[in-house]
């Protein structure tokens, strides 16, 4: 009976109402995409500098919070047009993210060059705390509403009639999907076509060899941290527009970690595919199997999905093969 409930019943439910299935899949897809964006920020930094950047999640919040906070300040000092204020705030936030990247490179990474990975990992923890405190100190700790209207982000939903049921797609989710695709495509082109992108790939392959051919590591690291700061900002805007901007958002960063081990720390396609697998798996599990074992399973389901994959591929789906020598 229990086996029936676990292995047969959910699939019967799926077949019985395909519209619900599609709705769940869509939600999983959207959540997965946002996970993928966070994972993308992790991967960019890990590839180029070998740093496991725990602060990526908080950078998402920090970016969104800075944007909203700056917008508030601008309207206070008398920038009357909301749209202008929003876009000035966006520009200023990008500048802030650049200085954050620059500061991280100069103050945190440079003195810690050549230290074991775990020390660098710990340093990003320090950074996380620092950014949480700073963000709350400057912009206040209460949740804020993302300025989605002023940034021309669409609102409302599209209802589609499929299989006799109604599937509703939030417009902001569609916009997020489009923007995420553009960003990934942009990054791919940046990595393969531009001089800096190629330098980045060289650094990812070998720090020493890259230094030997005259690539400046410092410069590359600032660029990488800036790039993942931008990714974080976009993620923050998207996620903030769906709910609100608050430090509760940092929890989603923990959700994105299984995406990383699933996709592999060094693979951009891995981050995307992993994100989608985790997002869809999580929503399906919560919706169809959740009632069986009690709700809230999405807090750990992703980790178990990732663990199952890891048992067969210890370096993640797309990770580089680990060759160890004694």
């Amino acid at each position: 009976m229990l086996l029936y409930k676990i292995f047969v019943d959910p699939f019967v439910q799926m077949g019985a109402s395909p519209d619900l299935l599609i709705q769940t899949l869509w939600e999983g897809l959207v959540a997965g995409m946002l996970y993928a964006l966070i994972a993308l920020g992790f991967v960019l930094i890990f590839k180029a500098s070998g740093v496991f950047n725990f602060a990526q999640g908080i950078m998402v919040v920090f970016g969104a919070l800075t944007l909203v906070g700056l917008y508030d300040m601008l309207t206070h000092i008398g920038v009357s047009m909301p749209v202008a204020a929003a876009f000035i705030a966006l520009g200023l936030t990008i500048v802030v993210m650049f200085f954050l990247a620059y500061g991280v490179e100069k103050i945190v990474l440079r003195p810690l060059i050549n230290q074991p990975d775990i020390i660098l990992f710990m340093a990003t923890f320090g950074l996380t705390y620092f950014l949480i405190g700073m963000g709350e100190l400057v912009f206040g700790g209460n949740p804020k509403i993302m300025i989605s209207d002023q940034l021309y982000l669409p609102k409302g939903s599209i209802d589609l009639k499929i299989f006799g049921g109604l599937v509703s797609l939030q417009k902001i989710d569609i916009a997020a999907a489009i923007i995420a695709s553009i960003m990934v495509a942009g990054l791919a082109i940046f990595f393969s076509k531009t001089r800096i992108g190629r330098a980045l790939r060289a650094v990812a392959d070998s720090h020493k060899a890259a230094l030997a051919v005259g690539i400046s590591l410092e410069q590359i690291w600032v660029i990488v941290w800036f790039a993942s700061g931008l990714v974080a900002l976009v993620t923050g805007i998207m996620w903030g527009a769906r709910s609100e901007v608050s430090f509760a958002l940092q929890v989603i960063a923990l959700r994105a970690l299984p995406v990383l081990i699933l996709g592999g720390f060094t693979s951009i396609p891995g981050a995307i595919v992993g994100g989608l697998i985790i997002g869809i798996g999580e929503k399906l599990g919560e919706f169809y199997w959740g009632p069986l074992i009690g709700s809230g399973i999405e807090s750990w389901l992703a980790y178990f999905i990732a663990l199952v994959f890891l048992l067969f591929r210890p370096q993640g789906l797309f990770g580089e093969k680990i060759i160890e020598r004694v």
């Binding site: 923890f125 950074l127 705390y129 709350e136 750990w300 890891l310 048992l311 210890p314 160890e324």
Partner: protein, 358 residues
């Protein structure tokens, strides 16, 4: 000048292998033990005992547990908080199921329950390493925390869904529960922590500790030398979870007096990891130093501004604490990536050769 080992000859293997081979170290440790056992409990107020010393010792024990795993065996774990929770919930279940058995027995027994759970969640370590493993241990953290919330059997179907510590006595004196005096609880925590530290220091110097360190330095090489990875890694998980479990049980029974699932959330895991890294990976002394710094620092930050006449809004203090702790973590890592224990070693070396530079 005083700290010099000239003239102290080691004439037997036993003295060569001693934990503290230098006479001055032995004297120092005895003095510290005398102070913590006989001076502090009688000459300090309730606040110091309840809010500083008891938590410090408990966190030091948890940090030792994590240090055995991360510092000695090289397996990065982010599930410490959950293993502490397992200890706490196990102790609660056992002590309410069998109220007649001595509570100290259950505190130790709950460590074994935590060890069993730890071994189970340590299984992935045989296949995956490094940061991949760290994230895999997060599975333990989230899954166990979910269990604490969702399984009402664990809290004896309490409506509040929380642990309330029952009063247990030892020779007529209340040890746990609301009636226990801070002195009693402090002395019990102290005794357990001292004994377990002594056990750990002997463990890491012996055959097992050397096996752990060999695995840490390079597990494939260790395997080729005939060390069984399966047993070594799982043993590390078991011992580490045992320490964390006992720390968790003490945390609820001898410090908080009650707890809910959120007490053992992921921040607890990170907190202990900070202590281990700031204190020094692979050093028992470091676990104490790290626990002292990380735990006592926020308390100081909260109490210093009013003392010097600054009035800051309490929310601002909270935020400032985050900023300062974050900055200090980075600062300490930059100044001494090997932790406070390394600073202590350097200081010892300086003392030894004083007044000469080398």
């Amino acid at each position: 000048m005083l700290y010099r080992e000239a003239g102290q000859f080691k004439t037997s293997y036993a003295s060569d292998q001693a934990v503290f081979p230098i006479l001055q170290d032995r004297i120092g440790v005895i003095v510290i033990l005398l102070i913590v056992f006989f001076v502090i409990p009688y000459f300090s107020n309730e606040f110091i005992l309840q809010a500083v010393m008891i938590p410090f010792l408990i966190y030091a024990l948890a940090a030792i547990g994590l240090n055995l795993l991360t510092g000695y065996t090289g397996l990065l774990s982010l599930g410490t908080g959950a293993f502490m929770g397992v200890g706490a919930y196990a102790c609660y279940k056992l002590s309410t199921l069998y109220p007649d058995v001595h509570i100290l027995v259950w505190i130790v027994a709950s460590g074994f329950v935590a060890a069993a759970i730890g071994v189970f969640f340590g299984l992935p370590s045989l296949r995956i390493k490094g940061f991949y493993l760290a994230i895999a241990t997060l599975a333990a953290q989230f899954f166990l925390q979910w269990c604490f919330v969702r399984i009402p059997w664990l809290v004896n179907y309490n409506v509040s869904n929380a642990i309330e510590v029952p009063t247990r006595t030892l020779g007529g004196i209340a040890v746990t529960g609301p009636n226990a005096s801070p002195q009693t609880r402090y002395l019990i925590v102290l005794s357990i922590v001292v004994v377990m530290t002594w056990l750990a220091s002997n463990l890491v110097r012996g055959r097992i500790g050397r096996m752990w360190m060999a695995v840490r330095d390079m597990d494939i090489a260790a395997e080729l030398m005939g060390i069984r990875l399966l047993t070594t890694k799982l043993l590390a998980f078991a011992v580490s979870s045992f320490y964390c479990g006992v720390a968790g049980a003490m945390m609820v029974f001898l410090w908080y007096g009650g707890a809910e699932a959120d007490t053992f959330n992921i921040n607890q895991s990170f907190f202990v990891l900070f202590m281990v890294i700031i204190g020094g990976l692979g050093s028992l002394l470091g676990s104490y130093l790290g626990a002292a710094l990380i735990f006592i620092l926020p308390i100081l930050l909260r109490f210093v501004p009013p003392q010097i006449g600054l009035t800051i809004h309490s929310a601002t203090v909270e935020h400032l604490t985050f900023v300062i702790v974050g900055a200090l973590i980075i600062f300490f890592l930059i100044v001494e990536p090997h932790g406070l224990a390394r600073l202590w070693q350097i200081a010892k070396q300086k003392l030894r050769v004083w007044p000469y530079p080398y």
